[in-house]
């Protein structure tokens, strides 16, 4: 079991994740993610897509893993990484269901996802986490190690393996159809907007 609840009510999540781990997470849960996660955004997804289509091996085995949609800023000399906040996830929607079918268990980003992604999260038992967009400096504190593992020529868009410790996030969409955006916004929407 890689999910446990801390004394502060925040759930500690350690990668890789099993289906049971994913099912225990609900929209609105605050989490701390530890272990290895992989970065990939637009350009990396565009390279992964034809491999997935042809059934070829990916440079990273996504089974049980989490992909973080981010393109970090360069590390200063001696530093691990620069700022590392999330990018808009919907640009990756086109590629996500196929990766979930391969066993990817989580993605981290910001913003709404398509209906197809929501359905794929349910079908393949996976979760969509949100980290705070624009909090890249704070988030860099939780990254202990960063190595490029594929597509180095893509620079910031290369696939990196990040070792994270207590990386803060929130469950935006869970594997049961729960949606924090819907619930949260409904609670604060007022008349005459």
């Amino acid at each position: 079991m890689s999910v446990s609840t801390g004394s502060d009510g925040i759930k500690d999540v350690r990668t890789p994740l099993s289906d049971a781990d994913v099912r225990s997470l609900k929209a609105g849960d605050r989490v701390r993610i530890s272990g290895a996660i992989f970065t990939a955004r637009d350009a990396a997804h565009a390279r992964l897509a034809p491999l997935v289509d042809k059934g070829e091996a990916l440079p990273v085995d996504v089974k049980g893993q989490i992909i973080y949609y981010t393109g970090p800023s360069p590390a200063r000399p001696g530093g691990v990484i620069g700022s590392v906040g999330p990018t808009t996830a919907s640009r990756m929607d086109k590629f996500t269901p196929a990766l979930l079918a391969l066993g990817l268990k989580g993605t981290i980003g910001k913003g709404y996802r398509s209906q197809a992604v929501k359905e794929a999260l349910r079908e393949h038992t996976a979760v969509y986490f949100g980290s705070i967009g624009g909090a890249g400096a704070v988030l860099s504190e939780f990254v202990k190690k960063a190595d490029v593992v594929a597509y180095a020529d893509l620079g910031t868009e290369a696939i990196r393996r990040l070792e994270v410790d207590g990386f803060p996030a929130i469950v935006l969409y869970d594997a049961h159809g729960g949606d924090l955006y819907q619930d949260g916004q409904k609670a604060y929407a007022r008349e005459n907007a």
Binding site: R76, K110, G111, G134, Y181, Y188, A189, A193
Partner: protein
């Protein structure tokens, strides 16, 4: 009256732009920090308050460690006001600005986010070129205002050509619709720059220019100021909140700039700006 022409060397311009780019990304302007505090005073949502608190910490960490506030260090937009009695020496003005951008982004460990072509998508490596707008004005100074404009919010910017008959109600509804469709993707609390009137391109440029007004300052035109307040109130009733997690702070401000327009036209351009509103200016 005769004015002596004042020489400004391109290296002075490059050095200034380099510093503006680094400072903009490391040090959020005081108007933004005040906006976080104002919002924390009235936000009802716990999730919203938590996001605002973390963003304040983020601004502090960015400043003290010289780390960019956001990893998307943006495309540089430069508005330049060149006094007509200024003579730029030693090279070309546009090259000097791009030289400063390249140096600032490379030496400041800021992300290179610009590709050389919309089709082959090859990164230029130093975040050049900038988008540069030049106005010639009276005087012998050169004012450079830069903004590091994030891509996620820029992608939610919109334009519409309304009819004069549709008028003000349609303008208002369009602006609110822009806030809704931007939603959490554009990193709220948002700031909206709105250009109304002029032509297709004039409205768009004014929508960027409007963002340089100090956040929280009144629009100098009382009618527009009242309109901005009404729209801000409406935007904050949508419930989207900080990061879209639900709350009262969907927007920090809506800035409108107008221009005369043709009898047939009512153009409206809305630039969506995120809370990473990084802007700095200098007068040489």
């Amino acid at each position: 009256m005769e004015h002596a022409v004042r020489d400004i060397h391109v290296s002075t311009i490059s050095d200034a732009v380099k510093k503006l780019c680094m400072d903009a990304n490391w040090r959020l302007e005081p108007d933004m920090l005040r906006a976080f505090d104002r919002a924390l005073g009235r936000e009802r949502s716990d999730a919203g308050k938590q996001v605002l608190t973390i963003l304040k910490q983020n601004a502090e960490m960015a400043r003290t460690r010289q780390l960019p506030y956001c990893q998307d260090t943006g495309m540089v937009i430069a508005f330049v006001e060149v006094g007509q009695d200024v003579h730029v020496t030693g090279g070309a003005l546009y090259d000097a600005i791009n030289e400063g951008v390249g140096q600032g982004y490379t030496e400041g460990y800021l992300r290179a986010s610009i590709v050389r072509s919309p089709f082959d998508r090859v990164n230029t490596g130093d975040n050049t070129p900038a988008v540069i707008h030049v106005d010639v004005v009276p005087g012998s100074t050169l004012k450079i205002s830069v903004m590091a404009k994030g891509g996620g919010c820029e992608n939610r910017s919109k334009y519409v050509m309304l009819t004069p008959a549709a008028g003000l109600p349609a303008v208002k509804d369009f602006i609110i619709e822009c806030v809704k469709t931007a939603g959490p993707d554009a990193c709220p609390p948002l700031i909206l720059g709105v250009g109304i009137g002029g032509t297709f391109e004039k409205a768009a440029i004014n929508s960027k220019k409007a963002l340089f007004r100090e956040l929280g300052s009144p629009n100098p035109d009382p009618m527009l100021d009242a309109l901005e307040q009404e729209l801000l109130e409406r935007a904050n009733r949508l419930g989207i909140g900080p990061q879209g997690y639900g709350g009262d702070t969907t927007s920090f401000g809506i800035h409108i700039l107008t221009y005369p327009c043709h009898i047939t036209s009512l153009p409206v351009a809305v630039t969506i700006e995120c809370h990473a509103h990084r802007h700095k200016e200098v007068v040489l």
